[in-house]
Amino acid sequence: MLTAQKKKARLTIFFFLVVPVVLLITFSYYPCICLVRYSFTNWNGYAPTSKFVGLKNYINLFTSGDFSVIFRNMLIHSVMILGLQTILALYQSVIFSSNLRGRKIFFSLLFLPYVFNDVAVSLIFGYMYSYTTSPVNILLNSMGLGQYAVRFISLSWTTNIWISFVHLWKYTGLCMILFYSALKSVPTELYEASALDGATTVQQLRYITLPSTKSVVILNLFLTLNGAIQLFSEPQLITQGGPGNTTQTLATYVYQLAFTHSKFGKASAVGVLLVVILFIVWIAKSIVIKKEVE
């Protein structure tokens, strides 16, 4: 038998929970279910009706030549962003956690790109990557080294590296803040004691800093991977997924299918694939972090 106080407490909990749960179901889970449902239809995005086509959208997706290019691009972005961003952010945070003169200014400057709008950043880099207006090429030309001018945008897979770099430039500052916070939580006594024992800076990094910040590094790695897989604004605004299909990502492909070809059914199938990949990443993250905690 529940006491009146317990009943009241449960009611309070219920009313507190009902609003966020309803909002979550309405705006997160229901659209997700709709996405899966549409992925089995030929919906064109605006008609009130659509036809069930079974697995056709998924079969088309996996058998089309576009998919291998998109998958290749996803791998390039993941490796570039995951590897370089983490290394750079860790390096910067280690430097800034020391007593470097003027570190606050540098710290702010490195974090600044994160507060810039994606569209503005992409426009700036569109200008930077133009063969004729790129400051790099202008400098090379002025030095008489015009033959070494860089063709940033081309049909080569390397164009994806430059696209990744934009993301890297924007988000390394945020990554650095996370690492910096983790570093600051490491007791200074550990460094002092190790210094007395004759530990070098590299040894301190290897045996104190990295183990102490491991969980933050892992979390950050997964968040970064998440961002790399979902890359959209940079390729969409700088190259529109082109030239040809060179810089197409899963997200830009969804956009193109939906709004260029009116194929919301197939776009939904790609959306489902994206959700599945991100779900796998999330599960992997949970398992790894759980192991770390244990």
Binding site: Y46, S130, T132, I153, S154, F259, H261
Partner: protein, 408 residues
């Protein structure tokens, strides 16, 4: 008798007042107009203000929307603007026009006085849309540069190559490919310009009967010419990163001499500081027919709550409101004034060689959609591939497969 007459007179007066009042009532209230011409907001707002001043109690809300996806969402939610532009990517079939739009046959638009109206009819023969303007295509060239180098507009392909070589020798980039240009220009080099080379208003629809419709001997002739321009070094230094804005700036500055585009670029160049007399247009090398295209159309959405006002305003837009010209387009009205470069272009064609392009058929649109053909990407691939014939073969195979799947 007098009483009866007075009563009748009063009745007539009351009735006429009532009918007058009801006619006035029809032109009150609010409607929305959705247009993608966000860069022409000042001109469009002036048109709306003039209409509102002439019709007190009327409020026209203009929504400027450059993203097709917003139109999709509004259609899906059955909440489209009362008068809306219809993005080409919507790929509506003529059989579904009646599901989305109101017929406009009572507005007095006539195929004899307005270009391109036949392509705006639904499968039921009713008129559902009005073209936002007409487009004359050709090679736009900087006349001042040509004059300075003693050049004249080429009349044949051989003359075109001679002109290109002279320009190159004098440090001017002869031709801009507009390779990237925000994803809408390259496909026209095959579709609309393809019509010019096929000298047919209906070639794209005739393609439906073919299993391998893409060929360098037919609709890809101009793409072949651009490719040769690239091979001969007649184009911009790096076409993969050269933007439309750079192309425009260099064209105006005289660093670049020619580009393929529509006459809608003329007001754009003029508003950017170029004198209209310095802009010229000449026909695509090797063609003898001018195929006029129509721009994006406007229609009244079926769910419109104020139909009389929407119809009156639409009629005003394409009448005294002069909406197409305000948008920087040549109005679709027959005999409407054209810019100097278009007049120069039209003078080169006999009357029977100026034809109007037919609208894409439902079957053509269905194949393009089924095959997921990104025609802009197709032309990009044709221009950059080591083996362009392999690209042609790939797209022909895609076309055939889509045709088979659709049972056409």
């Amino acid at each position: 008798m007098k009483k009866l007459l007075s009563l009748a007179l009063v009745l007539v007066m009351v009735l006429s007042c009532a009918s007058f009042a009801s006619a006035e009532e029809k032109l009150e209230g609010t409607i929305t107009l959705m247009t993608f011409k966000a860069n022409k907001d000042v001109e469009i707002n002036a048109m709306v203000e003039a209409y509102e001043a002439a019709h007190p109690g009327v409020d026209i809300v203009v929504e400027y929307e450059t993203d097709d996806n917003v139109v999709y969402t509004r259609f899906a939610a059955e909440d489209a603007a009362d008068i809306t532009f219809i993005p080409g990517s919507l790929n509506l079939t003529t059989t579904t026009y009646a599901d989305y739009f109101l017929p406009l046959d009572d507005l007095g638009f006539d195929s004899a006085t307005m270009v391109g109206l036949d392509g705006c009819r639904g499968a039921d023969g009713k008129l559902y849309m009005v073209p936002g303007g007409v487009i004359y295509r050709g090679i736009l060239y900087n006349k001042a540069v040509f004059k300075k180098l003693g050049l004249e507009a080429p009349k044949s392909l051989d003359e075109f190559w001679t002109v290109c070589e002279t320009l190159k020798q004098n440090g001017v980039v002869p031709y801009c490919t507009t390779f990237i240009n925000d994803g809408y220009t390259m496909d026209t080099q095959m579709c609309e310009v393809g019509d010019y080379y096929m000298a047919s208003p209906n070639y794209r629809n005739e393609m439906v009967a073919l299993d391998a419709p893409f060929s360098y001997d037919t609709n890809l002739q101009f793409v072949k010419i651009i490719r040769e321009c690239i091979d001969r070094g007649y184009v911009e230094a790096d076409m993969y990163s050269y933007t439309g804005t750079e192309c425009t700036n260099d064209f105006i500055a005289g660093k670049l001499a020619m580009t393929s585009n529509g006459d809608y670029m003329v007001p754009y160049y003029v508003s950017s500081g170029m004198a209209e007399e310095d802009i010229g247009m000449f026909p695509y090398p090797g063609t003898d027919t001018l195929v006029v295209n129509t721009d994006i159309c406007y229609a009244i959405y079926k769910g419109c709550k104020n139909v009389p006002l929407a119809k009156d305003f639409l009629k005003y837009m394409f009448g005294e409101g002069n909406f197409p010209a305000r948008c920087g387009l040549t109005p679709p009205t027959v005999g409407a004034p054209v810019s100097a470069p278009v007049a120069e272009l039209l003078a080169l064609y006999p009357a029977d060689k100026i034809i109007t392009s037919a609208a894409n058929s439902d079957d053509f649109n269905a194949i393009i959609s089924e095959a997921e053909m990104d025609l802009h990407g197709f032309v990009q691939n044709l221009l950059s591939a080591a083996d362009p014939q392999a690209v042609v073969d790939e797209y022909n195979a895609k076309w055939k497969q889509a045709k088979d799947e659709l049972g056409l």
